[in-house]
């Protein structure tokens, strides 16, 4: 297993290298002058040219890439022309905000998706199965930002049950930053009240992001349950009079969840880059919003850094998914050992 993980990580380096070349090139051929963007309308042409030189924009593409790669290997992702801070400082601020949100969304989609999927599969063709199918189609068809606006309108504006923006109320002082995860940092600081408020603020945006994945994962789980229910070993357990709950949790769930685990992994990485519209609706100071803002301003260093982070996330999450599947499915372990 260690050898397998090491090999996968090694392969990821080449993938990320190729990705960085591609996005480096694309970002530079996009229309727009990042130096002018940084200095504004009232800078002279001489000032713009000086900054272009400083950013190596007057050099050839391979030379620009060399300077960038050299900095990257020293841990320097450059500076953002929008925030004027090192990109690493920006990422340190924005990534935890989005990670906390998508972890919460993943948790919601996992719990609700699995429960509905298992029930729909076990009680297939019942009214519950039909209802969950209908709701799933609705969930898959509705974009997450539409769900976000709807939830905001109903629960925040009309009913006043949930907060509308940000990670905590504007007037509330946040706890000292340790991990960047507000809930965790609040608990570490001994402030469960702030943690509770942070959870409240997470609910609506997380549900908005989770809806489509609940629908998706629910359907996949349902199909797996239906398929595995027809397997001989399940019939044997039923004939032997083993309790339904034991059959479901001990014998049915584990093999049925394997396809869902793969999807969950992909969804997690997908959310990191595509939470933008939900972050916009809820004024969530997260990574996706930061990334899109960088695209609009042709913030070259940020664009490349963001794509690399997303690529790295995909690589790592897929690796984790494969490891988890290996644990869940012993046949894969045996195959890998060459048995």
């Amino acid at each position: 297993m260690v050898k397998y993980i090491s090999l996968r990580l090694f392969q990821s380096i080449f993938v990320l290298f190729g990705l960085s070349l591609l996005i480096f090139f694309i970002a530079r051929v996009m229309p727009g002058d990042p130096a002018r963007e940084a200095l504004g309308n009232y800078a002279t042409q001489e000032q713009v040219e000086a900054l272009q030189k400083e950013m190596h924009l007057d050099r050839s593409f391979p030379v620009q890439y060399y300077f960038w790669l050299r900095s990257l290997l020293q841990g320097d992702l450059g500076k953002s022309v929008v925030t004027r801070r090192p990109v690493t400082a920006d990422l340190k601020q924005f990534i935890p905000a989005t990670l906390e949100l998508i972890l919460f969304a993943t948790l919601i989609s996992l719990v609700i998706g699995q429960v509905t999927g298992v029930l729909a599969g076990y009680f297939r063709n019942s009214w519950f199965d039909g209802l969950s199918r209908l709701v799933s189609y609705l969930g898959i068809a509705t974009p997450s930002f539409v769900v976000a606006i709807f939830l905001l309108f109903i629960f925040s504006q009309l009913l006043g049950l949930a907060p509308s923006i940000g990670r905590i109320p504007l007037m509330m002082k946040p706890p000292p930053t340790i991990t960047g995860f507000l809930v965790l940092d609040s608990l570490i600081a001994g402030r469960p009240d702030i943690a509770g408020v942070a959870v409240m603020h997470l609910v609506l945006p997380a549900i908005s992001l989770a809806v489509i994945h609940i629908a998706q994962e629910g359907r996949i789980t349902r199909s797996s349950i239906v398929e595995n229910l027809q397997k001989d070993y399940i019939t044997l357990h039923q004939v032997h009079g083993i309790k339904t709950s034991r059959i479901v949790f001990k014998y049915l769930l584990k093999p049925s969840i394997i396809p869902t685990v793969t999807v969950i992994g992909l969804d997690f990485a997908f959310l990191l880059s595509n939470a933008f519209l939900v972050e916009l609706v809820f004024m969530w100071p997260g990574f996706s919003r930061y990334a899109v803002n960088a695209m609009f301003h042709k913030d070259l260093n940020v664009i490349v850094a963001v794509v690399l982070i997303i690529g790295l996330t995909f690589a790592l999450v897929n690796l984790l998914v494969d490891v988890v599947i290996t644990y869940l499915d012993p046949t894969i372990r045996i195959q890998r050992r060459g048995g």
Binding site: R36, A50, R84, R85, Q93, Q157, S164, M171, V199, M283
Partner: protein, 529 residues
Amino acid sequence: MVMVLFVIGFCSVLGAVDNVAVLNAMPGILTDPAQAWDWYDMQVLYNLYDPLVYPTPEGSIRPHVALSWEPVDGDLAHWKFTIMAGYLFHDGTELTAEDVAWSMNRIKAMGGGGVMGDVTATATDFYTVDFVLGVPNAVFPETLTQFFILNEDLLMENLADGDYGENGDYGNAWLQENDAGSGPYMMTHNSPGDRLDAARFEEYFLGWPGTDNPDEVPIDQLIFKEESQFSTLLLLLKSGGLDVECDGGWSLPQLEEIDKTEGLRLNYVWSENTTVSINTTRSPTDDEHFRKAILYAYDYEAVVEPYLPFGAGEGGTYLSRMPGFVPIEPQPRKKDLDKARAELALSKYADKLDEIPPIIAHFCAGLQNEEDIFLQLQADLDELGIKVEVAGPPWSQYGSEAATAEGTPHLTIWVFAPQYPTPDFYTYGMYHSPNWIYSAHWYFGDKEILQLLEQTRATLKFEDRIPLYEQVQPMIASHALAFFPYERQKAFPSQAYLIGPFEVTEMVGPNVNMRNWRINLTLKEELRG
């Protein structure tokens, strides 16, 4: 555990903090005056810092940190400024001429300060600063309305590694999250991309005068929340999550909705001049008669009428409220296809309209009112048999296109509030070469106009410049270098319990200087509970 935390959060009672105003800001506030250049940076800077001089509602300047100023021996390239004694920074130290000179030289070293030009500053004594300019400029003092003074000692104690030799980064990194100003508010927290918090500086040198209503008090805390989506901002205004919206770029339906919403007010503050620049180096807009045909064919009434209830009016070379404004052709501001055809008949393209390429008209992406202006033009020019292609690239592309005459489309829209309070911003700034507003017509190069503009910058007294501005406007208009669909007063929606601004200037920043506003806490409690 999640459910438990949710319940704890729901039950948490937050202490009411009434005396707070939440404003919006564009994402990416720059708190370093050497880097800040756009209006949304200025609206924050006017709260945290003090400029050397302050703009007036009449389109001039008045003493602020600087008490007086004059050219040395009449030399407009050499200015002496005397600053106020006893002026304090937020840390209690005195603001001296050394701070002023250092702040100016810092801006220059860091590549900022475009509107001020090439300037070197020296403190000649504790309260006197000498500014030496690269080029003589009678308008130099007016450009200092956006020159903000920093605490030199504090920044020099907090240098990081940077590109400026022994000056490191000039304290740039430290300044992003710390306060070094003297303004009415002190930065207490900054999370770039998220929010900036500031607290009232009670010892501010101008004090905090009251109003006739004892319920109206100065605002103690400001929160600038970085958000630019109008749909979200509207929701926040209605729910009380936002107190003042400071962009003013609302669409017509949104303005109408705000106007009807109880508890909200529209405040008409700074004006913007909507200018459609015409590229005089590209065929067919290189022909003056062709350009005039565009001006006469345009249906001004159709675009301005919906905005009339919201402070729109006839546009011109500069804002109508500025001194010396002169209405320019076409008069009246109505579509006149007969005049348009007459001009077209005089142009060199009269017989070959079928052969000319389409007019390329670009506006900045996301700005509906700019797109509407060009869609109207497209329809109007179609009646003359002239094709117009309208597109809205994102700002980064839009800005870099307009950096050169060759790259600029035939038509581009620029909506500017002045960066400093005088007509010079719109006249010399936009029509003299070389200049720093790349959207302009410096490449047109009419000698008479250039000489007149240079004369404005050689005329010391503000009142003596006004007749020169009155002359130059029709001269610029006679060449049809641009047309002006309308000027609009920007409307800042605010909660009804926020009263202000008590003084309105044509520049953005001073209007969002929250010392210029008060909060009525009694009314806030009634409206928001």
